[in-house]
């Protein structure tokens, strides 16, 4: 029942997004632009700078910028035509509404990120196939962290005047922890160091962050949406 409600909301968001492609086009384009621009910030041919060493940072900066753009629209699109009120008046619990939207955002972000990963590996000649599954695991965990925090802040800022500015400003300090974990893990993987040993710490940090903040979001979402 709960699951069905979550999936209904997720399906609705995805269907609307696929039809208009508002958020996806902007975020995806932005992500590719960042990846290309980085090559001007330094010279990829310069052998002194080891791409795999900074690859993690590059990739996740691009991912997080795109995430902020996408997630901003998550609850904002409900304001049009007063849809948010109609949803809140239905029997759906606020947490199911939150999960439905988070799930839709998660799917969209993952789709864009996997494509970008391919583009990135081509542009910067970084080998990803060897550690691809571990890499995907890290991307999934890191993206969920961004999704949970972003969707929560989207709900929090939905009625604010300067929402588009406020959301990134408030969101990024909360992403420092999952991003630093994801960046460390990604850089290691791209350097050929598999998961395990020292790395496991960061995996634990990422998982712990996800569990704690997802629980916090579920507990607090009702206050944020209804008051």
């Amino acid at each position: 029942m709960y699951l069905r409600q979550v999936l209904t909301i997720a399906a609705k968001d995805l269907r609307a997004e696929v039809r208009t492609r508002e958020a996806v086009n902007a975020s995806f384009a932005f992500m590719l632009v960042i990846l290309v621009l980085f090559s001007f910030a330094f010279d990829p041919g310069n052998s002194e700078i080891s791409i795999p060493a900074i690859a993690g940072g590059l990739l996740w900066i691009a991912y997080s910028f795109a995430a902020a753009l996408t997630l901003n629209r998550s609850f904002a699109r409900e304001l049009q035509n007063d849809c948010l009120d109609a949803l809140l008046a239905t029997p759906i619990p606020a947490s199911a509404l939150f999960f439905g939207k988070a799930l839709a955002n998660f799917a969209l972000l993952l789709a864009m990120e996997t494509v970008s990963l391919g583009v990135f590996s081509v542009l910067y000649n970084v080998k990803i196939r060897a550690q691809i599954w571990a890499l995907l695991l890290v991307i999934v965990l890191g993206t969920w962290a961004m999704t949970v925090m972003g969707t929560l802040f989207s709900a929090l800022t939905v009625n604010l005047r300067l929402r588009e500015l406020m959301l990134p400003v408030m969101l990024y300090p909360f992403l420092i922890v999952p991003l630093s974990a994801a960046i460390t893990l990604t850089s290691d993987l791209l350097n050929g160091i598999p998961l395990g040993g020292d790395n496991i710490l960061w995996l634990k940090v990422l998982t712990g962050f996800n569990i704690i903040f997802t629980s916090l979001a579920v507990v607090l979402i009702d206050t944020v949406l209804v008051g």
């Binding site: 209904t8 269907r15 035509n81 009120d85 949803l87 008046a89 029997p91 209804v226 008051g227």
Partner: protein, 238 residues
């Protein structure tokens, strides 16, 4: 509306709503017997919308409680029995008429959704555009679809915030037909309104709110229908 009723459709007990230290609603208390149609009157800023939002469970009262057939309005099972029509049409532009109704059918867990959706589309004369996207609809079509959405899950209690304000003639006709149908089946309706005459004609009871307080709550009287300003003059501030 009475103070002692066997089964009360809607009961408001000691509701206060504060914005900071300012009481937008002060000690609102009344009950609505099943089958009544209540017209909620009051000037702009008196507190009609604030009260309706609380009745719909969209906002929490600072003090007091609202129950629908005995159950708190914020509970999920209770919300299934309520239908709400606010100021916006509450429809998604990028979805079709059918998809919009199906979304709400699923959220309200309606049995046999396909049949019910078709039925509502027919009653609002939108069956032939069921797969059209809402963003391409005319204003009147959107209004009729909004009305279809509200009645879709056959709610026992209907809460309408100034429903006649933004509707064109055709949509008003559809709404009035559906409302009278609900009334005949013994459902309860509460609507806030400016359109005194249309509301008073349909209403069995009247409540008037002023500066956050209920100043009149009782049966509709003939004086109100004959002279729409009577109520404001008798119970209002001027």
């Amino acid at each position: 509306m009475s103070s002692a009723a066997l089964d009360v459709a809607l009961e408001v007990k000691g509701v206060w709503k504060y914005y900071g230290d300012f009481p937008a609603l002060r000690d609102i208390a009344f009950s609505v017997t099943p089958g009544s149609t209540v017209a909620l009157l009051g000037r702009n800023g008196a507190g009609k919308t604030t009260l309706l939002r609380i009745l719909a469970g969209l906002s929490k009262p600072s003090r007091g409680a609202v129950t629908i057939h005995g159950a708190d309005v914020r509970e999920e099972s209770t919300r299934r029995r309520i239908g709400v029509l606010g100021h916006g049409i509450s429809l998604y532009e990028e979805l079709s008429a059918f998809e919009n109704l199906r979304l709400f059918a699923r959220l309200y867990a309606i049995p046999d959704p396909a049949r019910r959706i078709t039925e509502m589309l027919e009653r609002t004369d939108l069956e032939r555009v069921r797969d059209g996207l809402v963003r391409e609809f005319s204003r009147g079509m959107r209004q009729r679809l909004a009305v279809a959405r509200v009645f879709l899950h056959d709610p026992e209690v209907l809460l309408l915030d100034e429903p006649f304000t933004a509707l064109d003639d055709r949509a008003i006709a559809v709404l009035q037909a559906l409302l009278s149908d609900m009334h005949q089946r013994g459902r309860t309706i509460v609507m806030s309104t400016h359109q005194l005459r249309e509301a008073l004609e349909a209403a069995t009871h009247v409540a008037m709110i002023q500066r956050g307080q209920i100043v009149y709550a009782g049966e509709r009287r003939q004086e109100m229908v004959d002279d729409t300003g009577w109520l404001y003059r008798t119970y209002g501030d001027n």
